[in-house]
Protein backbone atom coordinates (compact mmCIF):
# COMPACT_ATOMS: atom_id res chain seq x y z
CA UNK A 1 0.00 0.00 0.00
CA UNK A 2 1.01 3.56 -0.34
CA UNK A 3 -0.37 6.96 0.29
CA UNK A 4 -3.85 5.86 -0.36
CA UNK A 5 -5.46 3.32 1.91
CA UNK A 6 -7.89 1.17 -0.01
CA UNK A 7 -9.94 -0.22 2.82
CA UNK A 8 -11.28 -3.74 2.22
CA UNK A 9 -12.76 -4.33 5.67
CA UNK A 10 -15.87 -6.41 5.77
CA UNK A 11 -18.89 -4.23 6.42
CA UNK A 12 -22.11 -6.17 6.72
CA UNK A 13 -20.88 -8.92 4.41
CA UNK A 14 -19.54 -6.53 1.76
CA UNK A 15 -16.03 -5.14 1.45
CA UNK A 16 -15.76 -1.48 2.49
CA UNK A 17 -13.90 -0.67 -0.75
CA UNK A 18 -13.19 2.93 0.16
CA UNK A 19 -10.11 4.80 -0.96
CA UNK A 20 -8.73 7.07 1.75
CA UNK A 21 -6.41 9.74 0.32
CA UNK A 22 -3.35 10.57 2.39
CA UNK A 23 -2.48 14.01 1.09
CA UNK A 24 1.16 14.49 0.21
CA UNK A 25 2.51 17.24 2.47
CA UNK A 26 0.65 16.23 5.62
CA UNK A 27 1.58 12.57 5.36
CA UNK A 28 4.95 12.83 3.60
CA UNK A 29 6.56 12.07 6.95
CA UNK A 30 3.99 10.91 9.46
CA UNK A 31 3.40 8.29 12.10
CA UNK A 32 0.18 7.40 13.92
CA UNK A 33 -3.33 6.03 13.67
CA UNK A 34 -5.78 7.00 10.98
CA UNK A 35 -9.36 5.92 10.43
CA UNK A 36 -11.11 4.78 7.30
CA UNK A 37 -13.59 7.49 6.43
CA UNK A 38 -16.29 4.98 5.58
CA UNK A 39 -16.20 2.09 8.08
CA UNK A 40 -14.13 3.71 10.82
CA UNK A 41 -11.51 0.95 10.91
CA UNK A 42 -8.31 2.26 12.48
CA UNK A 43 -4.93 1.74 10.82
CA UNK A 44 -1.45 2.47 12.08
CA UNK A 45 0.89 3.92 9.47
CA UNK A 46 4.45 5.14 9.53
CA UNK A 47 5.41 7.08 6.43
CA UNK A 48 8.89 8.27 5.52
CA UNK A 49 9.35 10.43 2.44
CA UNK A 50 6.03 9.30 1.07
CA UNK A 51 6.73 5.61 1.52
CA UNK A 52 4.78 3.40 3.86
CA UNK A 53 7.63 2.30 6.08
CA UNK A 54 5.20 0.43 8.32
CA UNK A 55 1.52 -0.32 7.91
CA UNK A 56 -1.23 0.05 7.33
CA UNK A 57 -1.68 -2.26 10.32
CA UNK A 58 -5.02 -2.94 11.93
CA UNK A 59 -5.44 -1.30 15.31
CA UNK A 60 -8.88 -2.43 16.42
CA UNK A 61 -10.13 -0.65 19.51
CA UNK A 62 -7.58 2.16 19.25
CA UNK A 63 -8.44 5.78 18.64
CA UNK A 64 -7.36 7.51 15.42
CA UNK A 65 -4.90 10.41 15.66
CA UNK A 66 -6.17 11.86 12.45
CA UNK A 67 -8.49 11.24 9.53
CA UNK A 68 -8.09 11.59 5.79
CA UNK A 69 -9.31 14.81 4.18
CA UNK A 70 -11.08 13.04 1.38
CA UNK A 71 -12.20 9.51 0.56
CA UNK A 72 -14.29 7.95 -2.17
CA UNK A 73 -15.62 4.68 -3.52
CA UNK A 74 -14.51 4.16 -7.12
CA UNK A 75 -16.45 0.89 -7.36
CA UNK A 76 -19.64 2.52 -6.21
CA UNK A 77 -20.08 5.43 -8.62
CA UNK A 78 -17.28 7.45 -6.97
CA UNK A 79 -19.46 8.25 -4.00
CA UNK A 80 -17.33 10.50 -1.83
CA UNK A 81 -16.87 11.66 1.71
CA UNK A 82 -15.55 15.18 1.59
CA UNK A 83 -13.55 17.29 4.05
CA UNK A 84 -15.05 18.00 7.44
CA UNK A 85 -17.60 15.17 7.52
CA UNK A 86 -17.86 14.75 11.25
CA UNK A 87 -16.18 11.73 12.74
CA UNK A 88 -15.04 10.54 9.31
CA UNK A 89 -12.80 13.07 7.55
CA UNK A 90 -10.83 15.93 9.02
CA UNK A 91 -11.96 19.47 8.33
CA UNK A 92 -9.88 21.77 6.15
CA UNK A 93 -9.34 24.84 8.30
CA UNK A 94 -7.49 27.17 6.00
CA UNK A 95 -10.40 28.16 3.75
CA UNK A 96 -11.38 31.49 2.18
CA UNK A 97 -14.88 31.39 3.68
CA UNK A 98 -16.69 29.39 6.35
CA UNK A 99 -18.68 27.90 3.50
CA UNK A 100 -16.90 25.57 1.11
CA UNK A 101 -18.77 25.05 -2.14
CA UNK A 102 -16.42 23.64 -4.75
CA UNK A 103 -18.99 24.76 -7.34
CA UNK A 104 -19.71 28.23 -8.76
CA UNK A 105 -21.21 30.65 -6.24
CA UNK A 106 -24.17 32.44 -7.85
CA UNK A 107 -23.58 36.09 -6.99
CA UNK A 108 -26.00 38.86 -7.91
CA UNK A 109 -24.65 41.63 -5.71
CA UNK A 110 -21.20 42.70 -4.66
CA UNK A 111 -20.42 42.83 -0.94
CA UNK A 112 -21.59 46.44 -0.87
CA UNK A 113 -24.93 45.53 -2.38
CA UNK A 114 -24.69 46.69 -5.98
CA UNK A 115 -25.56 44.43 -8.93
CA UNK A 116 -22.78 42.19 -10.18
CA UNK A 117 -23.13 39.82 -13.12
CA UNK A 118 -21.99 36.71 -11.27
CA UNK A 119 -24.83 34.27 -11.88
CA UNK A 120 -26.10 32.08 -14.67
CA UNK A 121 -27.82 31.81 -16.97
CA UNK A 122 -27.83 35.31 -18.37
CA UNK A 123 -30.22 36.46 -21.05
CA UNK A 124 -28.51 36.56 -24.49
CA UNK A 125 -27.42 40.08 -25.30
CA UNK A 126 -24.76 39.94 -28.02
CA UNK A 127 -25.23 41.85 -31.25
CA UNK A 128 -23.64 41.36 -34.68
CA UNK A 129 -20.69 38.96 -34.77
CA UNK A 130 -20.57 38.56 -31.00
CA UNK A 131 -20.62 42.28 -30.41
CA UNK A 132 -21.36 43.57 -26.91
CA UNK A 133 -22.31 47.11 -26.01
CA UNK A 134 -20.76 49.23 -23.29
CA UNK A 135 -23.68 48.98 -20.95
CA UNK A 136 -25.51 46.23 -19.18
CA UNK A 137 -29.19 46.85 -19.54
CA UNK A 138 -29.98 45.21 -16.26
CA UNK A 139 -33.52 46.55 -16.11
CA UNK A 140 -34.40 44.72 -19.29
CA UNK A 141 -32.12 41.68 -19.09
CA UNK A 142 -32.53 40.87 -15.40
CA UNK A 143 -35.65 42.65 -14.14
CA UNK A 144 -35.87 40.54 -10.97
CA UNK A 145 -32.34 41.54 -9.94
CA UNK A 146 -33.13 45.14 -10.70
CA UNK A 147 -36.21 44.91 -8.48
CA UNK A 148 -34.20 43.32 -5.69
CA UNK A 149 -31.67 46.12 -6.05
CA UNK A 150 -34.39 48.76 -5.61
CA UNK A 151 -35.46 47.01 -2.42
CA UNK A 152 -31.88 46.99 -1.17
CA UNK A 153 -31.59 50.70 -1.81
CA UNK A 154 -34.83 51.33 0.04
CA UNK A 155 -33.64 49.26 2.99
CA UNK A 156 -30.32 51.11 3.08
CA UNK A 157 -28.34 47.96 2.29
CA UNK A 158 -26.32 49.53 -0.48
CA UNK A 159 -23.11 51.05 0.82
CA UNK A 160 -20.19 53.06 -0.51
CA UNK A 161 -17.61 50.59 0.77
Amino acid sequence: MCDIIWCKKDVGGKPCDTVNYLDPYCFWNWKGNINCAECGAVYFIHMINGHMYKGPEDRPGEKPDTSPLYADKPLDGYKFITMGTEGRTRPFQCLPRHIYLGVPDMVKFSIRGKPLRGWRPQAPSAGIAGQFPFNWNIKKLAPEVWAEYQEKIAKGEVKDW
Binding site: C94, L95, G102, P104, L116, R120, Q122, G130, F132
Partner: protein, 480 residues
Protein backbone atom coordinates in the same frame (compact mmCIF):
# COMPACT_ATOMS: atom_id res chain seq x y z
CA UNK B 1 22.30 59.19 8.36
CA UNK B 2 25.21 60.99 9.91
CA UNK B 3 23.89 63.49 12.38
CA UNK B 4 21.05 61.31 13.38
CA UNK B 5 20.07 63.30 16.39
CA UNK B 6 20.01 66.64 14.73
CA UNK B 7 18.28 65.22 11.72
CA UNK B 8 15.61 63.70 13.84
CA UNK B 9 14.80 66.92 15.64
CA UNK B 10 14.49 68.72 12.38
CA UNK B 11 12.43 65.97 10.97
CA UNK B 12 10.49 65.01 14.05
CA UNK B 13 7.09 65.66 12.59
CA UNK B 14 7.52 62.94 10.00
CA UNK B 15 8.79 60.30 12.34
CA UNK B 16 5.67 60.04 14.39
CA UNK B 17 2.14 59.61 13.13
CA UNK B 18 -0.78 60.59 13.46
CA UNK B 19 -1.42 62.69 10.48
CA UNK B 20 -3.40 65.59 11.87
CA UNK B 21 -0.70 66.48 14.35
CA UNK B 22 2.06 66.53 11.79
CA UNK B 23 1.40 69.90 10.41
CA UNK B 24 0.21 73.14 11.91
CA UNK B 25 -3.21 74.58 11.33
CA UNK B 26 -4.10 75.18 7.74
CA UNK B 27 -4.14 78.81 6.80
CA UNK B 28 -4.92 80.62 3.59
CA UNK B 29 -1.27 81.12 2.76
CA UNK B 30 -0.74 77.39 2.88
CA UNK B 31 -2.65 77.10 -0.33
CA UNK B 32 0.48 78.37 -1.90
CA UNK B 33 1.91 75.21 -3.33
CA UNK B 34 5.38 75.72 -1.94
CA UNK B 35 4.17 76.15 1.58
CA UNK B 36 1.62 73.40 1.50
CA UNK B 37 2.32 70.52 3.86
CA UNK B 38 3.96 67.75 1.87
CA UNK B 39 1.10 65.39 2.56
CA UNK B 40 -1.48 67.82 1.24
CA UNK B 41 0.66 68.64 -1.73
CA UNK B 42 0.78 64.97 -2.71
CA UNK B 43 -2.95 64.57 -2.31
CA UNK B 44 -3.52 67.65 -4.43
CA UNK B 45 -1.22 66.78 -7.31
CA UNK B 46 -2.14 63.10 -7.51
CA UNK B 47 -5.82 63.93 -6.91
CA UNK B 48 -7.10 60.34 -6.69
CA UNK B 49 -10.47 60.03 -8.39
CA UNK B 50 -9.77 62.88 -10.78
CA UNK B 51 -7.68 61.00 -13.31
CA UNK B 52 -10.08 61.55 -16.16
CA UNK B 53 -9.45 65.23 -16.74
CA UNK B 54 -5.78 64.58 -17.41
CA UNK B 55 -4.01 63.41 -20.60
CA UNK B 56 -2.83 59.88 -21.22
CA UNK B 57 0.91 59.22 -21.43
CA UNK B 58 0.69 56.84 -24.39
CA UNK B 59 -2.05 58.62 -26.28
CA UNK B 60 -2.13 57.51 -29.91
CA UNK B 61 -0.16 54.30 -29.41
CA UNK B 62 -1.87 51.19 -30.76
CA UNK B 63 -0.83 47.70 -29.69
CA UNK B 64 -1.94 44.20 -30.55
CA UNK B 65 -2.20 41.64 -27.78
CA UNK B 66 -2.15 38.18 -29.38
CA UNK B 67 -1.69 36.66 -25.97
CA UNK B 68 -3.04 34.16 -23.46
CA UNK B 69 -2.79 33.50 -19.70
CA UNK B 70 -1.22 36.24 -17.54
CA UNK B 71 2.39 36.85 -18.47
CA UNK B 72 2.14 38.34 -21.96
CA UNK B 73 -1.34 39.85 -21.44
CA UNK B 74 -0.03 41.88 -18.51
CA UNK B 75 2.63 43.48 -20.70
CA UNK B 76 -0.15 44.93 -22.88
CA UNK B 77 -2.47 45.76 -19.98
CA UNK B 78 0.31 47.96 -18.60
CA UNK B 79 0.31 49.88 -21.89
CA UNK B 80 -3.49 50.09 -21.98
CA UNK B 81 -3.56 51.50 -18.47
CA UNK B 82 -1.17 54.22 -19.62
CA UNK B 83 -3.47 55.18 -22.47
CA UNK B 84 -2.49 52.94 -25.38
CA UNK B 85 -5.28 51.53 -27.53
CA UNK B 86 -4.92 47.76 -27.25
CA UNK B 87 -6.69 45.01 -29.18
CA UNK B 88 -6.86 41.59 -27.61
CA UNK B 89 -7.08 38.78 -30.17
CA UNK B 90 -8.65 35.47 -29.20
CA UNK B 91 -9.68 32.24 -30.85
CA UNK B 92 -13.34 32.45 -31.96
CA UNK B 93 -15.83 31.04 -29.42
CA UNK B 94 -13.03 29.75 -27.17
CA UNK B 95 -11.09 32.71 -25.95
CA UNK B 96 -8.18 32.85 -23.58
CA UNK B 97 -7.84 29.58 -21.59
CA UNK B 98 -7.32 31.69 -18.48
CA UNK B 99 -11.10 32.05 -18.43
CA UNK B 100 -11.29 28.55 -16.97
CA UNK B 101 -9.34 29.43 -13.88
CA UNK B 102 -11.30 30.13 -10.76
CA UNK B 103 -10.37 29.69 -7.11
CA UNK B 104 -11.75 26.33 -6.01
CA UNK B 105 -14.19 26.59 -8.92
CA UNK B 106 -16.27 29.12 -6.98
CA UNK B 107 -15.93 32.61 -8.51
CA UNK B 108 -17.14 33.35 -12.06
CA UNK B 109 -18.59 36.22 -14.03
CA UNK B 110 -21.08 35.55 -16.83
CA UNK B 111 -21.32 35.23 -19.72
CA UNK B 112 -18.21 34.07 -21.48
CA UNK B 113 -20.22 34.37 -24.64
CA UNK B 114 -23.82 34.08 -25.68
CA UNK B 115 -23.06 30.75 -27.28
CA UNK B 116 -21.98 29.25 -23.96
CA UNK B 117 -24.35 30.79 -21.42
CA UNK B 118 -23.60 28.28 -18.69
CA UNK B 119 -19.84 28.62 -18.78
CA UNK B 120 -18.63 31.55 -16.80
CA UNK B 121 -15.34 33.34 -16.89
CA UNK B 122 -13.29 32.62 -13.83
CA UNK B 123 -11.87 35.33 -11.63
CA UNK B 124 -8.43 34.21 -12.77
CA UNK B 125 -9.03 36.23 -15.94
CA UNK B 126 -9.83 39.42 -14.04
CA UNK B 127 -7.07 41.97 -14.40
CA UNK B 128 -4.56 40.88 -17.01
CA UNK B 129 -6.37 42.47 -19.99
CA UNK B 130 -7.63 45.78 -18.64
CA UNK B 131 -9.17 48.44 -20.93
CA UNK B 132 -8.72 46.43 -24.13
CA UNK B 133 -10.92 45.85 -27.17
CA UNK B 134 -11.76 42.20 -27.78
CA UNK B 135 -11.45 40.75 -31.24
CA UNK B 136 -11.76 37.14 -32.35
CA UNK B 137 -9.68 35.70 -35.17
CA UNK B 138 -8.66 32.24 -36.32
CA UNK B 139 -5.10 32.57 -37.58
CA UNK B 140 -5.28 29.16 -39.23
CA UNK B 141 -7.58 30.51 -41.91
CA UNK B 142 -5.72 31.82 -44.93
CA UNK B 143 -8.38 34.46 -45.57
CA UNK B 144 -7.77 36.03 -42.18
CA UNK B 145 -4.20 36.96 -43.12
CA UNK B 146 -5.38 40.08 -44.84
CA UNK B 147 -7.14 41.72 -41.89
CA UNK B 148 -4.23 40.68 -39.72
CA UNK B 149 -1.74 42.42 -42.01
CA UNK B 150 -4.01 45.44 -42.23
CA UNK B 151 -3.93 45.97 -38.49
CA UNK B 152 -0.19 45.35 -38.34
CA UNK B 153 0.35 48.24 -40.72
CA UNK B 154 -1.81 50.43 -38.51
CA UNK B 155 -0.23 49.48 -35.19
CA UNK B 156 2.87 50.21 -33.16
CA UNK B 157 3.55 46.69 -32.09
CA UNK B 158 2.44 43.30 -30.92
CA UNK B 159 3.03 40.86 -28.09
CA UNK B 160 2.55 37.15 -28.71
CA UNK B 161 3.05 34.00 -26.68
CA UNK B 162 2.72 31.13 -29.12
CA UNK B 163 5.18 28.29 -29.29
CA UNK B 164 8.35 29.54 -31.03
CA UNK B 165 8.05 29.23 -34.78
CA UNK B 166 4.26 29.11 -34.81
CA UNK B 167 3.76 32.71 -35.93
CA UNK B 168 6.59 32.19 -38.37
CA UNK B 169 4.79 29.22 -39.92
CA UNK B 170 1.70 31.40 -40.17
CA UNK B 171 3.79 34.10 -41.88
CA UNK B 172 3.18 36.60 -39.13
CA UNK B 173 6.50 36.56 -37.30
CA UNK B 174 8.75 39.59 -37.01
CA UNK B 175 10.66 38.85 -40.19
CA UNK B 176 7.43 39.11 -42.17
CA UNK B 177 5.82 41.96 -40.28
CA UNK B 178 8.91 44.20 -40.14
CA UNK B 179 8.79 44.37 -43.92
CA UNK B 180 5.26 45.72 -43.82
CA UNK B 181 5.93 48.05 -40.92
CA UNK B 182 9.56 48.79 -40.05
CA UNK B 183 8.44 50.77 -36.98
CA UNK B 184 6.85 47.64 -35.55
CA UNK B 185 7.88 46.54 -32.04
CA UNK B 186 7.39 42.79 -31.86
CA UNK B 187 7.60 40.82 -28.64
CA UNK B 188 7.61 37.10 -28.18
CA UNK B 189 7.14 36.14 -24.54
CA UNK B 190 7.39 32.57 -23.33
CA UNK B 191 9.28 30.11 -21.25
CA UNK B 192 12.67 29.68 -22.83
CA UNK B 193 13.34 31.21 -26.25
CA UNK B 194 16.00 30.11 -28.73
CA UNK B 195 18.29 27.34 -27.53
CA UNK B 196 18.10 23.69 -26.50
CA UNK B 197 14.77 24.09 -24.66
CA UNK B 198 13.20 26.43 -27.23
CA UNK B 199 10.04 24.35 -27.55
CA UNK B 200 9.53 23.84 -23.82
CA UNK B 201 6.24 25.16 -22.51
CA UNK B 202 6.14 27.28 -19.42
CA UNK B 203 3.92 28.72 -16.75
CA UNK B 204 4.35 31.01 -13.81
CA UNK B 205 4.83 28.07 -11.49
CA UNK B 206 7.44 26.57 -13.77
CA UNK B 207 9.33 29.83 -13.65
CA UNK B 208 9.17 29.85 -9.87
CA UNK B 209 10.40 26.26 -9.72
CA UNK B 210 12.91 26.08 -12.52
CA UNK B 211 14.58 29.45 -12.03
CA UNK B 212 15.49 28.95 -8.39
CA UNK B 213 12.91 31.24 -6.74
CA UNK B 214 11.17 28.32 -5.03
CA UNK B 215 14.46 27.05 -3.66
CA UNK B 216 14.86 30.19 -1.55
CA UNK B 217 11.22 30.59 -0.43
CA UNK B 218 9.51 28.75 2.41
CA UNK B 219 10.50 27.37 5.77
CA UNK B 220 13.79 25.58 5.98
CA UNK B 221 13.71 21.85 6.59
CA UNK B 222 14.74 22.30 10.23
CA UNK B 223 11.72 24.56 10.67
CA UNK B 224 9.52 21.77 9.33
CA UNK B 225 8.83 23.34 5.96
CA UNK B 226 9.02 22.78 2.24
CA UNK B 227 9.68 25.01 -0.75
CA UNK B 228 6.67 27.32 -0.91
CA UNK B 229 5.04 28.70 -4.02
CA UNK B 230 4.67 32.47 -4.11
CA UNK B 231 0.98 33.07 -3.93
CA UNK B 232 -0.47 34.25 -7.20
CA UNK B 233 1.05 34.02 -10.66
CA UNK B 234 3.49 36.63 -9.52
CA UNK B 235 6.29 35.65 -11.90
CA UNK B 236 3.89 35.89 -14.84
CA UNK B 237 2.75 39.36 -13.87
CA UNK B 238 6.20 40.55 -12.93
CA UNK B 239 7.74 39.27 -16.18
CA UNK B 240 4.98 40.89 -18.22
CA UNK B 241 5.78 44.20 -16.61
CA UNK B 242 9.39 43.83 -17.67
CA UNK B 243 8.27 43.30 -21.25
CA UNK B 244 6.48 46.62 -20.94
CA UNK B 245 9.79 48.13 -19.93
CA UNK B 246 11.43 46.70 -23.05
CA UNK B 247 8.61 48.08 -25.19
CA UNK B 248 8.74 51.56 -23.68
CA UNK B 249 12.52 51.74 -24.07
CA UNK B 250 12.13 50.64 -27.69
CA UNK B 251 9.52 53.35 -28.25
CA UNK B 252 11.99 55.97 -27.06
CA UNK B 253 14.63 54.69 -29.46
CA UNK B 254 12.11 54.59 -32.27
CA UNK B 255 11.33 58.26 -31.73
CA UNK B 256 14.90 58.94 -32.84
CA UNK B 257 15.37 56.34 -35.53
CA UNK B 258 11.95 55.36 -36.81
CA UNK B 259 12.82 51.71 -36.38
CA UNK B 260 11.20 49.05 -34.25
CA UNK B 261 12.75 45.93 -32.80
CA UNK B 262 12.00 42.37 -31.84
CA UNK B 263 12.25 41.29 -28.22
CA UNK B 264 12.43 37.64 -27.26
CA UNK B 265 11.57 37.53 -23.57
CA UNK B 266 11.83 34.51 -21.30
CA UNK B 267 9.75 34.44 -18.17
CA UNK B 268 11.86 31.68 -16.63
CA UNK B 269 14.89 33.91 -16.93
CA UNK B 270 13.00 36.82 -15.39
CA UNK B 271 12.45 34.72 -12.27
CA UNK B 272 16.19 34.16 -11.91
CA UNK B 273 16.70 37.91 -12.17
CA UNK B 274 15.17 38.53 -8.72
CA UNK B 275 17.48 36.15 -6.89
CA UNK B 276 19.83 38.95 -5.90
CA UNK B 277 22.98 37.62 -4.31
CA UNK B 278 22.23 33.98 -5.16
CA UNK B 279 24.21 33.99 -8.43
CA UNK B 280 27.29 35.94 -7.27
CA UNK B 281 27.41 33.96 -4.02
CA UNK B 282 27.37 30.69 -5.89
CA UNK B 283 29.71 31.86 -8.61
CA UNK B 284 32.41 33.06 -6.28
CA UNK B 285 32.12 30.78 -3.27
CA UNK B 286 30.11 27.79 -4.45
CA UNK B 287 27.57 28.51 -1.71
CA UNK B 288 24.02 27.53 -2.64
CA UNK B 289 21.44 29.96 -1.24
CA UNK B 290 18.70 28.20 0.73
CA UNK B 291 15.29 29.13 2.04
CA UNK B 292 15.05 30.82 5.41
CA UNK B 293 11.34 30.96 6.18
CA UNK B 294 9.94 34.14 7.64
CA UNK B 295 13.26 35.55 8.72
CA UNK B 296 15.88 37.46 6.78
CA UNK B 297 19.33 36.05 6.11
CA UNK B 298 20.87 39.52 6.14
CA UNK B 299 19.00 41.39 8.88
CA UNK B 300 17.92 40.46 12.39
CA UNK B 301 15.49 41.19 13.92
CA UNK B 302 13.54 41.48 10.69
CA UNK B 303 10.96 38.74 10.49
CA UNK B 304 7.43 37.50 10.99
CA UNK B 305 6.44 35.93 14.28
CA UNK B 306 3.51 33.79 15.38
CA UNK B 307 1.44 35.31 18.17
CA UNK B 308 -0.57 33.31 20.67
CA UNK B 309 -4.04 34.57 19.84
CA UNK B 310 -5.97 35.66 16.82
CA UNK B 311 -7.27 39.21 16.70
CA UNK B 312 -10.73 38.00 15.77
CA UNK B 313 -11.42 34.74 17.64
CA UNK B 314 -15.17 35.13 17.14
CA UNK B 315 -15.13 35.91 13.44
CA UNK B 316 -16.99 33.65 11.04
CA UNK B 317 -14.45 33.75 8.25
CA UNK B 318 -11.69 31.23 9.03
CA UNK B 319 -9.01 33.60 7.73
CA UNK B 320 -9.97 36.13 10.39
CA UNK B 321 -10.73 33.57 13.05
CA UNK B 322 -7.58 31.45 12.85
CA UNK B 323 -4.99 33.36 10.87
CA UNK B 324 -4.88 36.88 12.33
CA UNK B 325 -1.91 35.79 14.44
CA UNK B 326 1.17 36.95 12.58
CA UNK B 327 3.16 40.13 13.03
CA UNK B 328 6.14 41.51 11.17
CA UNK B 329 8.74 42.82 13.63
CA UNK B 330 11.79 44.81 12.59
CA UNK B 331 14.49 45.94 15.01
CA UNK B 332 17.84 45.24 13.45
CA UNK B 333 19.67 48.42 14.33
CA UNK B 334 21.38 48.42 17.72
CA UNK B 335 19.12 50.92 19.44
CA UNK B 336 16.01 49.25 18.11
CA UNK B 337 17.17 45.81 19.16
CA UNK B 338 18.05 47.10 22.60
CA UNK B 339 14.60 48.62 22.99
CA UNK B 340 13.00 45.42 21.77
CA UNK B 341 14.88 43.34 24.32
CA UNK B 342 13.77 45.72 27.03
CA UNK B 343 10.11 45.58 26.00
CA UNK B 344 10.07 41.83 26.11
CA UNK B 345 12.02 41.92 29.37
CA UNK B 346 15.05 40.05 28.06
CA UNK B 347 17.85 42.56 28.54
CA UNK B 348 20.28 39.64 28.65
CA UNK B 349 19.40 38.84 25.06
CA UNK B 350 20.65 42.28 24.13
CA UNK B 351 23.94 41.79 25.95
CA UNK B 352 24.32 38.44 24.29
CA UNK B 353 23.91 39.87 20.80
CA UNK B 354 25.12 43.45 21.05
CA UNK B 355 26.35 43.80 17.49
CA UNK B 356 24.27 43.19 14.40
CA UNK B 357 26.88 40.73 13.25
CA UNK B 358 26.21 38.71 16.42
CA UNK B 359 22.46 38.56 16.03
CA UNK B 360 22.23 37.94 12.30
CA UNK B 361 24.06 34.61 12.51
CA UNK B 362 21.93 31.54 11.94
CA UNK B 363 22.01 30.14 15.48
CA UNK B 364 21.41 33.58 16.94
CA UNK B 365 18.34 34.04 14.76
CA UNK B 366 16.90 30.71 15.88
CA UNK B 367 17.38 31.77 19.49
CA UNK B 368 16.08 35.31 19.07
CA UNK B 369 12.90 34.47 17.18
CA UNK B 370 12.10 31.64 19.59
CA UNK B 371 12.41 34.12 22.45
CA UNK B 372 10.16 36.60 20.63
CA UNK B 373 7.51 33.98 19.93
CA UNK B 374 7.68 32.84 23.52
CA UNK B 375 6.98 36.40 24.60
CA UNK B 376 4.10 36.66 22.11
CA UNK B 377 2.52 33.34 22.97
CA UNK B 378 -0.03 34.76 25.43
CA UNK B 379 -0.79 37.81 23.31
CA UNK B 380 -2.91 38.61 20.32
CA UNK B 381 -1.39 40.02 17.16
CA UNK B 382 -2.89 43.44 17.92
CA UNK B 383 -1.36 43.43 21.40
CA UNK B 384 2.07 42.54 20.07
CA UNK B 385 1.92 45.26 17.44
CA UNK B 386 0.59 47.85 19.86
CA UNK B 387 3.16 47.15 22.57
CA UNK B 388 6.04 47.41 20.13
CA UNK B 389 4.69 50.47 18.34
CA UNK B 390 4.17 52.22 21.67
CA UNK B 391 7.88 51.83 22.27
CA UNK B 392 8.57 53.46 18.92
CA UNK B 393 9.52 50.19 17.20
CA UNK B 394 8.51 48.98 13.76
CA UNK B 395 5.87 46.24 13.91
CA UNK B 396 2.86 45.65 11.71
CA UNK B 397 0.20 42.98 11.33
CA UNK B 398 0.32 40.52 8.43
CA UNK B 399 -2.91 41.61 6.79
CA UNK B 400 -5.47 39.54 4.93
CA UNK B 401 -7.59 40.60 1.94
CA UNK B 402 -10.37 41.99 4.09
CA UNK B 403 -7.97 44.07 6.12
CA UNK B 404 -6.38 45.41 2.97
CA UNK B 405 -9.83 46.27 1.65
CA UNK B 406 -10.66 48.12 4.84
CA UNK B 407 -7.35 49.93 5.14
CA UNK B 408 -7.98 53.67 4.64
CA UNK B 409 -4.51 54.09 3.13
CA UNK B 410 -5.38 52.55 -0.22
CA UNK B 411 -8.73 54.34 -0.35
CA UNK B 412 -7.09 57.69 0.31
CA UNK B 413 -4.54 57.04 -2.39
CA UNK B 414 -7.14 55.71 -4.79
CA UNK B 415 -5.18 52.53 -5.33
CA UNK B 416 -8.12 50.36 -4.30
CA UNK B 417 -11.54 51.40 -5.54
CA UNK B 418 -14.90 50.27 -6.84
CA UNK B 419 -15.78 50.60 -10.51
CA UNK B 420 -19.05 50.35 -12.40
CA UNK B 421 -17.92 48.00 -15.16
CA UNK B 422 -19.90 48.45 -18.40
CA UNK B 423 -20.80 44.76 -18.62
CA UNK B 424 -20.33 43.23 -15.20
CA UNK B 425 -21.44 45.93 -12.83
CA UNK B 426 -19.93 46.49 -9.42
CA UNK B 427 -16.32 45.29 -9.39
CA UNK B 428 -13.56 45.99 -6.90
CA UNK B 429 -10.40 47.21 -8.62
CA UNK B 430 -7.06 46.41 -6.99
CA UNK B 431 -4.84 47.02 -10.01
CA UNK B 432 -3.95 49.79 -12.47
CA UNK B 433 -3.97 52.70 -10.02
CA UNK B 434 -1.78 50.66 -7.68
CA UNK B 435 0.83 50.21 -10.43
CA UNK B 436 2.00 53.77 -9.80
CA UNK B 437 0.69 57.29 -9.29
CA UNK B 438 1.40 59.95 -11.90
CA UNK B 439 0.50 63.60 -11.37
CA UNK B 440 -0.02 64.64 -15.00
CA UNK B 441 -0.71 61.48 -16.99
CA UNK B 442 -2.24 59.07 -14.47
CA UNK B 443 -3.02 55.45 -15.21
CA UNK B 444 -6.70 54.64 -15.35
CA UNK B 445 -9.04 51.69 -15.60
CA UNK B 446 -12.23 51.87 -17.64
CA UNK B 447 -13.30 48.24 -17.87
CA UNK B 448 -12.00 44.92 -16.59
CA UNK B 449 -12.49 42.79 -19.69
CA UNK B 450 -15.02 42.10 -22.43
CA UNK B 451 -16.42 38.88 -23.92
CA UNK B 452 -14.73 37.09 -26.84
CA UNK B 453 -15.24 39.09 -30.02
CA UNK B 454 -17.20 41.81 -28.21
CA UNK B 455 -15.59 44.45 -30.42
CA UNK B 456 -15.55 42.58 -33.73
CA UNK B 457 -17.74 45.18 -35.41
CA UNK B 458 -15.72 48.04 -34.02
CA UNK B 459 -12.53 46.36 -35.24
CA UNK B 460 -13.29 44.73 -38.58
CA UNK B 461 -15.85 47.24 -39.73
CA UNK B 462 -15.11 50.57 -38.10
CA UNK B 463 -11.31 50.32 -37.95
CA UNK B 464 -10.36 48.09 -40.88
CA UNK B 465 -13.25 49.05 -43.14
CA UNK B 466 -14.74 45.66 -44.00
CA UNK B 467 -18.47 45.73 -44.84
CA UNK B 468 -20.79 44.30 -42.20
CA UNK B 469 -21.90 41.51 -44.54
CA UNK B 470 -18.28 40.33 -44.64
CA UNK B 471 -17.96 40.50 -40.87
CA UNK B 472 -21.16 38.49 -40.45
CA UNK B 473 -20.01 35.90 -42.93
CA UNK B 474 -16.71 35.40 -41.14
CA UNK B 475 -18.53 35.14 -37.86
CA UNK B 476 -20.95 32.52 -39.15
CA UNK B 477 -18.04 30.45 -40.45
CA UNK B 478 -16.38 30.83 -37.03
CA UNK B 479 -13.35 32.46 -38.64
CA UNK B 480 -13.83 35.30 -36.21
Amino acid sequence: MNDKKEWRTKYKNLIESPLEEQYGPKSKQELDEMKMPYEDFCKAVFAPGHEMGKPEALKGTRFMSTTMYIFTPHSCANLAELGAEVYKFEMPRMGDPMKHTSPFNEAYLYPLHDTRPMTGTGYGFTSANINEYYVSIDYHIEAMKEPFYRIVKMSDGLVECYRPGTFDRWKQSYRYLAEMNPRFIYVWGGGFGYGPKVFGGSYDILGQAHAGLASVTGMHEFMGGHCAKHSNWCIDWYSGTQITFGVLAAMHWRRKTGLGTMIEFSQVQAATRVLGHAAPLYGRFGIVRQRWGNWDTQLCVHGIILCGKSDYPDAINPQDKFEARYAMVSAFQDADFKALCEVIKKPDMYSKYIKHKDRVGAEAQVDIYATLEDWAKDKSRAEVVRILQNEGLLAEPVMNDREVYENPHYRTRGTLRWMDDPLFGDVLVQGTYSAGLMSKTPRRQVWIWRPVGADNVKFYHELLGYPISQVKEWYDKAWI
